[in-house]
Symmetry: C2
Subunit: 518 residues, 2 copies
Amino acid sequence: MNGAESLVRTLLANGVDTCFANPGTSEMHFVAALDRVPGIRCVLGLQENVVTGMADGYYRVLRRPAATLLHCGPGLSNGLANLHNARRAESGIVNIVGDHATAHRPFDSPLTADVTALAATVSASVCTPRSTQQLGQDTALAVATARKHPGQITTLILPADISWSEGGIESAGVAIARPAPLDPHSIEVARRMLTSGKRCLLLVGNSAAALDGIRLSHAIAERTGADVMGSSLVAALPRGRGVPALPRVPYPVDVAVERLAAYEAVILINCPPPVGFFGYPGKPSLLCHPHASLHTLSRADQDGIEALRHLAEALGVDKNTAWTSGEQALPRELALPQGEPTPEKLDMALAALLPEDAIIVDESITFSNGLTTTGAVAHPYDHLIITGGAIGGGMPVATGAAVASDRDRRVVNLQADGSAAYTLQALWTQAREKLPCTTILLNNRRYNILLGEYRNVGAVPGPTAMSMLDLGNPDIGWADLARSLGVEAVRVATMEACCEALAASFASDRPYLIELMI
Amino acid sequence: MNGAESLVRTLLANGVDTCFANPGTSEMHFVAALDRVPGIRCVLGLQENVVTGMADGYYRVLRRPAATLLHCGPGLSNGLANLHNARRAESGIVNIVGDHATAHRPFDSPLTADVTALAATVSASVCTPRSTQQLGQDTALAVATARKHPGQITTLILPADISWSEGGIESAGVAIARPAPLDPHSIEVARRMLTSGKRCLLLVGNSAAALDGIRLSHAIAERTGADVMGSSLVAALPRGRGVPALPRVPYPVDVAVERLAAYEAVILINCPPPVGFFGYPGKPSLLCHPHASLHTLSRADQDGIEALRHLAEALGVDKNTAWTSGEQALPRELALPQGEPTPEKLDMALAALLPEDAIIVDESITFSNGLTTTGAVAHPYDHLIITGGAIGGGMPVATGAAVASDRDRRVVNLQADGSAAYTLQALWTQAREKLPCTTILLNNRRYNILLGEYRNVGAVPGPTAMSMLDLGNPDIGWADLARSLGVEAVRVATMEACCEALAASFASDRPYLIELMI
């Protein structure tokens, strides 16, 4: 078999059965091998940042990596922003980047670029197989690395000749490394902190913020008088009726500093110390009190939930408490909101209408109240945010999440218009794959978050600033745009019409875009 | 004044008066300074690959760099593919990439990325000013580097605190380095080659392929019996009535090898040896005959036209011949094409209808005959191609070219649909800036070039391959999409309707998209 076929067979043997792709000339042998060897589902994105964002959303739902197929340096470049987000989300992804044939590369033909340097900016490992014989083994290793705890981005650079030559060898499964062992001392330090009388905060990071971790944190907090918060980088947070709330560290620096000021000790579970998104003149980078003690209970490469279990045990927390605490009252009958759209009313609408086992992908930016009502009383769902701050993640992540759940779960994408414009091509993939994605396109015709930031530095924006912050002139017709890409769509300006469109969308099994004029 | 203001003033003092932008939080002080200090035209792109592609198109028309404004690592990442194309076009660009405040950076907040590594993949120089006082001088140096011969991409990484702190100093113009001196020996070698009786080819590269360089090459060829071709990377080629033809080295390897087989000597004027775009099993990378003598008359950093002038003199070419040769017959009355669209008919339509002093941006990929008729008999125009092979260059380059010509020249963009989908957001900027861009959107609903490449490796594409190569299901409604972004548009299926739409578009001063069903 040729190299390409050994690559396909090795991916399958190692549990990778989905490939998000935008191929080019140098990947044609791989495409041909995908044709010959059945078993891998290929999903096309019209631009690579859609491709990589889909792989991120896929991992967040299944906790299993997909492959991406990208074309040379520029193809990888186009996908880097959502790989950046995926890296911050600790999503496992196996990038396959086709490149020039080994003998052709030194000639520096037009498409030649420094693929290794580009890949290294987002990847835990970058590998260029040195021979066709080696390709299978390198692929198996790349998948094993991507599947580690936490998920890693690995990039396999595939010279065309390694792919087209004969001599490929399928490589069987490589054992996936277990999380790094826990440190009993670290658990003991946390126990002492929590029982010292100091005001303590448990800060729960990404992989620990699964249902078990959230319940354990709350049980420990209940026992010790500590508080619980989620780090700003939780990639997929379980929320809804019966799930204890895990409020995030607030985004505005002043609010965050005020909220965290009271804590004398902060216990970090699979997350770094809380820091602001940006630095501002005269404001701190570290958000907790400068004299607060910081303690890492578990690092990102350790099993934070297991660490919490040990900590709960050391504190004598009742196991039953640990597993049932935080249950909340069943929801009251929710009234549907009316009139002009507000973040609170959109929250109420979703709280009332969200179907069971949904996924919310939240890139609502300034039009958001944090979905406090939905988070508390809706049917349990997973809440996905844009972890790395690179806008344009929402629609691709929503698309990939829908692929991962094999059309079984409704995906609702709260999507700011400025960010949507980055990767609007994702709508086409939603139409092509007939995915149950409901996009609520929040059309305010401006980069509203930047207008706020501008006011912080320069009073009233003048015409030059507005030429860069205003998205009107011309207004984008988002419903029309969605339809041109094959997605059914409607434009609404009231919450009555929005609720009606939501209900219609949730009753269908196809993608739908609701352009909400705000 | 603060750093941001010194940056704006220094850009202006050094001849940069246009900024293609997509700003973020860390650039707000720069945006505020652009508001306070008048003189820089800011043009917003909805995604950074539009921003950088516009800067490329701008340089190709004016031979003067614009600035770009990009937000942190992911903002730069999004724009890298068109910076790759710009680097291959030898376009001068000054990237300004906002980054975290110096003191904030070590905290590795979510948006933190390796900006330097990303920038280095496309930039001739990357600089992070070490103080606010230093910023003006570093900016002046970056502009001078961008303005060198040939144009360079320079990246200035701007930590937010360097921008917001007081103490900025405007820096006056830095002298722009002259092209490297010519080597008289190299001219003598070329003279001997051309008079040796060997069959010679003059291969004319990017900066030498201006009108003077083309005329001189043809005069030399006429005198010596040599042939003349253009390298594959000519960023803006003068064509049309009265301009001697400069046929490019063909894209298909077999055709190129056959075309070049006869030449015993190849004289390179500001270009590398001719190489294939991709390597293929059993085919050469170097396209000229393996025994051909290669000689570099002038390097990229030398003045190739001056070298040609010296060579012409050494050969005793009559100066008058050098400036008038190649004049062609005035055009006959051209009939407008009818019926089903073909590349040849589209060529005929443009030959007949193209207005004076137009710019054609050609990303037509497989639907092209090289515009042989237009190139020979239309009003003289500049022909811009996608130099680096990263698709998605066409619409942004067209937009930037129209900005550069200050709405004075009609820009016609021959645009393949698959490539258009990469950067379709450029249409919105065309509408916002009211640019006279006519996009001929060639809608064939597939990655046609890849289908050809696939057939070369794997016979008939099966369903998996087609899921990655076919762009139907759903068909994109390009005219509807353009309208949703504010651009007037029409869908046509015959050449009669296409010609009518072209005439209507050329009579207007606004952007227009013609969706040509092919």
